[in-house]
Amino acid sequence: SQTIHQWPATLVQPVGSPLSLECTVEGTSNPNLYWYRQAAGRGLQLLFYSVGIGQISSEVPQNLSASRPQDRQFILSSKKLLLSDSGFYLCAWSGLAGGKGEQYFGPGTRLTVT
């Protein structure tokens, strides 16, 4: 069966510090991978998605970036965090092309920028 992992689970970082969040998927090949951010009491906002190694599409301009160095690894980064980067970051994968199909979410990373 497929599983998706994210780490760390929680993170507190000062403004201006770098960020690296990691997501890995097991039990599937060539998944579509997604990074979402969820602000408190809000729905999910798609940040990035990837259909293959080295292929990244950005949905929202921001100071975050994403990379996919391996087929089942997706990394969310920032060189300098802003207060507004605080939130709950969720990684997801899907096995179908486009947005037509279930996206399976990881457990999330709670990021607090102080």
């Binding site: 579509n32 997604y34 009491g41 809000r42 729905g43 999910l44 906002q45 798609l46 998605y49 259909v51 599409s57 949905e59 969720l90 997801a92 486009g98 947005g99 037509k100 199909g101 279930e102 996206q103 399976y104 979410f105 990881g106 457990p107 999330g108 709670r110």
Partner: protein
Amino acid sequence: GESVGLHLPTLSVQEGDNSIINCAYSNSASDYFIWYKQESGKGPQFIIDIRSNMDKRQGQRVTVLLNKTVKHLSLQIAATQPGDSAVYFCAENSPNSGYALNFGKGTSLLVTP
């Protein structure tokens, strides 16, 4: 821009009753809809989905109804249980939104004994 919204931010039901969570969408081109359940501090969990060529789909204790005429989607939960307490999100995708699922803000369901 296009939006997906929910009629009620909170819903309280008694254990054993049926729950109905509603969702309105504004993009008439939306052709795929999905419901997620999110428990506090966890990632969303897939419940059920429906494509625009259907108006009803049933799962285990859940039914999704799609009314394209009024752009309305609902999730019905039969015999609601305490474990159903969570925030429920609807999301949609349209041909021109690529890989993006457009999520609503969510409805909090509270099941009381």
